[in-house]
């Protein structure tokens, strides 16, 4: 069985909750200190996006396994305004955080796999995976 744990994001404090859950699950399955910190940072970015732009949403974590690897999958879902121009927000240098290399391109860098689906008016769904090295 592969339990899935989620944190609802409504207020800023929930970002901390999501980070904590993500970090604990990452530690549990065997990620090192550096990767724990990176996963927590990625969670922050996703949760903060929900908090700032969609107001309501959820960040979920689950373990994933392949024949040769194990890792953590995080899913951030919201029913906010959605992203009109995905290629633009995924552009490096274009970040809501004013060019810190963060934002969604930052999440993509911190994690190993990244996928985004969004429709204007319908919300956004982001999946990101980090594998244990």
């Amino acid at each position: 069985m592969n339990p899935r744990s989620c944190v609802n994001i409504h207020k800023e404090w929930d970002i901390v909750g999501a980070r904590q859950l993500g970090r604990e699950m990452a530690k549990e399955i065997g990620f090192g200190t550096v990767d724990q910190a990176r996963i927590a940072t990625a969670v922050s970015e996703l949760a903060r996006n929900i908090y700032l732009y969609a107001k309501n949403g959820q960040v979920c974590f689950e373990y994933i396994y392949t024949n040769s690897q194990k890792g953590i999958l995080m899913t951030a879902v919201d029913t906010g305004p959605g992203i009109k121009d995905i290629s633009r927000v995924m552009q490096d240098g274009y970040t809501t955080s004013g060019g810190l290399g963060a934002g969604l391109p930052g999440v993509k860098r911190l994690m190993d796999e990244f996928d985004i689906e969004s429709a204007a008016g319908e919300g956004t769904k982001i999946k990101a995976i980090k594998w244990i090295r």
């Binding site: 901390v16 980070r19 970090r23 927590a40 290629s87 240098g93 955080s97 004013g98 060019g99 810190l100």
Partner: protein, 337 residues
């Protein structure tokens, strides 16, 4: 910067102390916010380490000498990280300057190459030309002669981007000086070829198709300088007919000559001109086949000409994940009467 550091030293120290005592996630979240602010204010990694050292000295005044030395060592190791980081600002500025310069040039090019679809009763014309980058290396142009002849030019410079665009303007200015409507298509190409051959870089060339549509006679006369073949959709049979015209590309042979082809056009026939940015669209690693392109055109064939070309463009834009690999130009003319 000094000010920010001083203000944040206390905050950092408190967070650090709290974290050492409780290891709570909240301190780490607050730390994230501070560290973001640091980067925004150009506080470099070595300064962060120094701030950490000072915080630790206050929290643990009896800290081991070895610890302090180890931190000085670490600080030293981060100086180059700081230098590398400072390049971000510089690079971003440089890139912005170039990008804005290019966008000014792209706008100029738009003004320069702008062409109006001529209003001709009984002829429905649609045209779209979208550059892969900011500047267009495809060219198209319409003229309407006093005798009613419609001139249609479509061209593609080798490559794309700024060099192609620069080259493109050559066609524009050279064409401006011709009495197009009264000069036969092959003569237009022969003259252009001489200009291009004289002025173009040896590694470059231009493909071009020039056509006259004669409404009174329902005839299309055209010559091609190595350009992508066009098509005629025959209303009677509902089949596409390839319009292949022989001729060498512009800019290679100083005294090239071109043949003129003549085709009869029937009511509801559709004349199609395009550049290889249309015919060589890619779906992932796969090139689309001609049949596929024609099927897409067929799909929208009942639409007014301008809607037709726009729909075809949108189809391929999406197929290619919104990333054009080459300039895309598509022209259609429908004989309505």
């Amino acid at each position: 910067m000094e000010e920010t550091i001083r203000k944040n030293t206390v905050k950092y120290q408190k967070l650090l102390q709290k974290y050492i005592e409780t290891q709570d996630e909240k301190s780490l979240y607050d730390l994230e916010l501070i560290s973001k602010a640091f980067i925004k204010k150009n506080i470099l990694p070595e300064e962060l380490i120094n701030l950490h050292i000072q915080a630790m000295e206050r929290i643990y005044p009896q800290l081991l000498e070895e610890y302090k030395l180890s931190m000085e060592f670490l600080l030293e190791a981060t100086v180059f990280y700081g230098l590398a980081l400072q390049e971000v600002d510089y690079l971003r500025q440089e890139k912005d300057v170039l990008t804005s310069e290019i966008s000014v040039a792209a706008n100029m090019q738009k003004t320069l190459l702008g062409t109006q679809r001529p209003e001709v009763s009984g002829l429905d014309i649609g045209a779209i030309s979208v550059p892969a980058h900011q500047m267009n290396g495809d060219y198209h142009h319409f003229t309407k002669g006093s005798n009613g002849t419609i001139g249609i030019a479509i061209a593609d410079v080798v490559g794309k981007g700024i060099p192609a665009a620069l080259c493109m303007s050559m066609i524009k200015y050279a064409m401006d000086s011709y009495p197009e409507a009264t000069m036969s298509p092959n003569k237009v190409l022969e003259n252009l070829n001489r200009v291009v051959e004289r002025n173009i870089d040896p590694s470059m060339f231009i493909t071009m198709c020039y056509a006259h549509y004669l409404p009174a006679e329902s005839k299309l006369r055209l010559s091609s300088a190595g350009h992508e073949p066009g098509y005629i959709f025959r209303a009677e049979t509902e089949e596409f007919e390839e319009v292949r015209a022989k001729g060498i590309v512009l800019g290679v042979m100083p005294d090239a000559t071109y043949r003129e082809y003549e085709l009869a056009i029937q009511k509801d026939d559709l004349i199609i001109f395009l550049t290889d940015g249309v015919s060589e669209c890619r779906d992932g690693d796969r090139f689309i086949e001609t049949e596929e392109l024609l099927e897409v055109i067929r799909k929208y064939i009942d639409l007014p000409a301008q809607e037709l070309v726009e729909n075809v463009y949108q189809y391929f834009e999406k197929l290619q994940d919104f990333q054009l690999r080459d300039d895309f130009t598509l022209i259609v003319l429908r004989k309505e009467v």
